[in-house]
């Protein structure tokens, strides 16, 4: 602890009527950092049936819709790839003339096999590999960024993106269009459930909650999408067919 810190915290202790020089340590105040028992919440998340998950998907879609998130439900990686390919083909780059796309290093994104789908077109697909020093340049050049968020929150239509090697922050930020691919079973009901799952991941340097495209209402409270971040957010929900519309739900997915 540096001198500044000691002095600063001493001032606080004085203000609180404590002795300035007697450092108060965390272990003396166990209740201060106590968190509620989350076993029940974890069990609830783990025990969700496919039908219940589909309900959450519904809620996410509804809430996402009012936040301008375009959602697509697909049954397979191939179908997901079709959506992505169509978006890459139909959308025009905003800041560049060539079509570059960057995706996180994630199995669900790799499964799209994008690199082999643009043989005859001028589309460059990058993967944000671990330790790549050029990753920011590639991201700046890309008009579409593809990520696979770890958690989706139905109640607030939020995508939770953890920053990890191969999954950098700017993929969901710099490109004009953000495509998120998420498995149905990664959607939880609300922030309480989401925070419960986050507890184990909190050592990360950075993480972000994303609820819709970038927006601003600074000019006469007029809502405009695409202030600094992506102006479009597309969510592709991967729902494996076993449960599509059936009530023979298994809990395997959980």
């Amino acid at each position: 602890m540096d001198h500044n810190q000691a002095f600063f915290l001493g001032n606080i202790r004085t203000a609180l009527g404590e002795a300035p020089h007697s450092e108060r340590v965390k272990s003396m105040f166990p209740k201060l950092f106590a968190s509620p028992d989350t076993t029940e919440i974890r069990q609830k998340i783990a025990g969700r049936t496919v039908a219940e998950q589909d309900e959450l998907v519904e809620i996410f879609l509804k809430n996402g819709n009012s936040l301008n998130i375009c959602s697509h439900i697909v049954a397979s990686s191939d179908a997901a790839a079709a959506v992505v390919v169509e978006l890459i083909r139909s959308k025009e780059p905003e800041f560049n003339h060539t079509k570059h796309v960057i995706g996180h290093d994630h199995p669900d994104i790799a499964a799209l096999q994008l690199w082999k789908r643009f043989n005859r077109e001028a589309v460059t697909v990058h993967t944000a590999f671990n330790s790549d020093r050029q990753v920011q340049e590639k991201t700046i050049a890309s008009f579409i960024g593809i990520t696979a968020p770890t958690i989706g929150v139905a109640d607030s239509a939020t995508l939770i993106q953890l920053t990890e090697p191969g999954r950098p922050r700017s993929t969901s930020l710099l490109p004009s269009i953000h495509i998120a691919i998420m498995r149905r079973e990664h959607i939880v009901a609300d922030l309480q459930e989401a925070y419960t799952l986050l507890r184990g991941r909190a050592h990360l340097d950075s993480l972000v909650f994303i609820s819709g495209p970038s927006k601003t209402a600074d000019i006469e409270a007029h809502m405009v999408h695409g202030a600094h971040g992506p102006r479009e957010v597309h969510l592709i929900i991967l729902a494996e067919p076993s449960a599509a519309g059936s009530d023979a739900a298994t809990t395997e997915a959980a």
């Binding site: 203000a15 106590a34 968190s35 330790s131 925070y195 006469e220």
Partner: protein, 484 residues
């Protein structure tokens, strides 16, 4: 006339500002009240308030824990007792890194400590990146709302400003204007050497600061430049993620009726070799600048529970008429009226302490139910009787004298009654045909310049009581009924 009233008059004379303040309050003020009324979990606000107060009582422990966790990730933490300390440290970081351009995320504490001029003096370009703040910066103006800084400007003014400063064709179309700023600022964001942000809420147990934004500028400013400096008011901290969850939701609901803002980003250190996307250096500057003094006074400690959502501005009938500039502070509205005098001098900001009606709307809307009216009254008390603790002189000796006389009168019934009679005689020259007084001299003209005043009645209630009711009341109630 004092500056507060002068600025207020300017605001009142602007129909445009009045219209935007109306729209703002009708939407966000009422919206927040409706949100609170319909919230399923009616205990949430009380719970968060309680945890805010508890955390203030253990602030030393929380800050030490936050610092420890940030340092463990390779971030630097600096404790700044004064604004100058924070400026000096930030300048040193900037110099060490040969910074030429700083991009800012909207931060009120940066304005509180006055860091922009200090950086600029050092030859560093400072760019605000929040659209509203950017517009304000281009115009050389000051923000007038915590969340909507350029609420006092309309699209035409902004269009002209952009045409002039950005060399584009004039338009007043908000999407076109926004896109122009998007392009302009993207350049700046991608080429800046340092990102400078505030901190909405730090989490001690995980060692993160969290920042909320809708635009994404803050994410850019904390990701793209090689250095990120976050300035944090020392009270903006929660102990646990669990507390964060509830507090941040109250913040975004109070601020803009959102369940969450578009982005809530958590940052707790620099990027690493295997994940090079992000700043190489992360500095957290924890700032006191007068807060410990507030913490020490039980009368005012509660104000440090504020989460700066700005909701109180959206309902305050005074702010709703005069806008933000009259407060002449980085913090305006009801919260500004309390925190500004405490941070920057009660005498200096006496008009902020006195210029409200104590109607209580701010306390009702506040997500953490901060009793601002109580503290305004307490500030007035310091002005009334002076205070060593707050280094405050008696503000208005004449007024104080007036209240001493008032006290003598109202505690002596015969004197009070005789004075009323004298007043009744004296007022006769002022009474107009409509049986109203419409002009008076001295401070009383404050009333009659814009309003009429009913005169003292020919007979006061007390006189009527003696004449008509006292004896009648001696009779039994049922008889009274028959009399009707």
């Amino acid at each position: 006339m004092n500056d507060y009233s002068k600025e207020a008059q300017k605001a009142l004379a602007s129909p445009r500002l009045q219209a935007s303040l109306h729209t703002l309050q009708d939407r966000f003020g009422k919206g927040a009240m409706a949100l609170w009324a319909n919230m399923e979990d009616q205990e949430m606000r009380r719970r968060v308030k309680k945890s805010r107060l508890k955390n203030l009582e253990h602030l030393d422990i929380l800050l030490a824990e936050l610092a420890r966790n940030v340092r463990a990730r390779g971030g630097k933490v600096y404790f700044a007792e004064t604004a100058q300390d924070a400026i000096d440290y930030t300048l040193k970081v900037a110099r060490d890194n040969k910074v030429k351009r700083v991009v800012k995320g909207k931060s009120m504490i940066s304005m509180e400590i006055g860091i922009d001029p200090a950086l600029e003096e050092d030859g560093i370009e400072v760019v605000e990146t929040d659209l509203g703040e950017y517009i304000i910066q281009l115009a050389g103006d000051k923000p007038s709302h915590i969340i909507a800084p350029c609420i006092h400007m309309d699209r035409k003014q902004i269009g002209q400003l952009f045409a002039e400063k950005l060399g584009m064709d004039y338009t007043d179309d908000p999407p076109t204007l926004t896109m122009a700023a998007r392009k302009e600022l993207r350049e700046k964001l991608l080429s800046a050497d340092m990102g400078l942000t505030g901190c909405n809420l730090a989490c001690a147990e995980t060692g993160h600061i969290s920042l909320v934004s809708n635009e994404g500028n803050i994410r850019m400013a904390t990701t793209m430049p090689p250095v990120h400096v976050a300035l944090m008011g020392m009270e903006r901290i929660v102990a646990t993620l669990e507390e964060h969850r509830e507090t941040v939701q109250l913040l975004t609901r109070g601020a803009a009726l959102q369940k969450l803002s578009t982005y809530v980003s958590f940052t707790g250190g620099p990027s690493s070799a295997d994940d090079p996307d992000g700043p190489k250096e992360f500095h957290l500057v924890i700032i006191d600048n007068g807060r410990a003094k507030i913490l020490a006074d039980p009368e005012f400690r509660e104000v440090l529970a504020c989460i700066r959502c700005g909701a109180c501005l959206n309902i305050c009938p005074v702010y709703g008429r005069i806008g933000g500039h009259a407060y002449n502070s980085s913090y305006c509205g009801p919260i500004g009226a309390v925190i500004t005098p405490l941070l920057d001098g009660i005498n200096k900001h006496a008009d902020l302490c006195k210029g409200e009606t104590l109607c209580g709307a701010c306390k009702d809307i506040c997500p953490v139910q901060i009793d601002l009216p109580r503290m305004l009254a307490a500030l007035r008390q310091k002005l009334a009787y002076a205070s060593d603790r707050w280094d405050t002189r008696q503000h208005n000796p004449a007024e104080a004298y007036g209240f001493t006389i008032w006290r003598l009168i109202i505690t002596r019934k015969p004197l009070y009654r005789s004075l009323l009679k004298i007043g009744r005689l004296f007022q006769r020259v002022f009474i107009k045909k409509n049986n109203m007084i419409s002009s008076m001299a001295g401070i009383a003209s404050g009333w009659t310049d814009g309003r009429d005043l009913p005169p003292i009645a020919k007979k006061t209630f007390t006189e009527l009581w003696e004449e008509k009711y006292r004896n009648r009341q001696a009779a039994a109630a049922p008889e009274t009924e028959e009399n009707q």
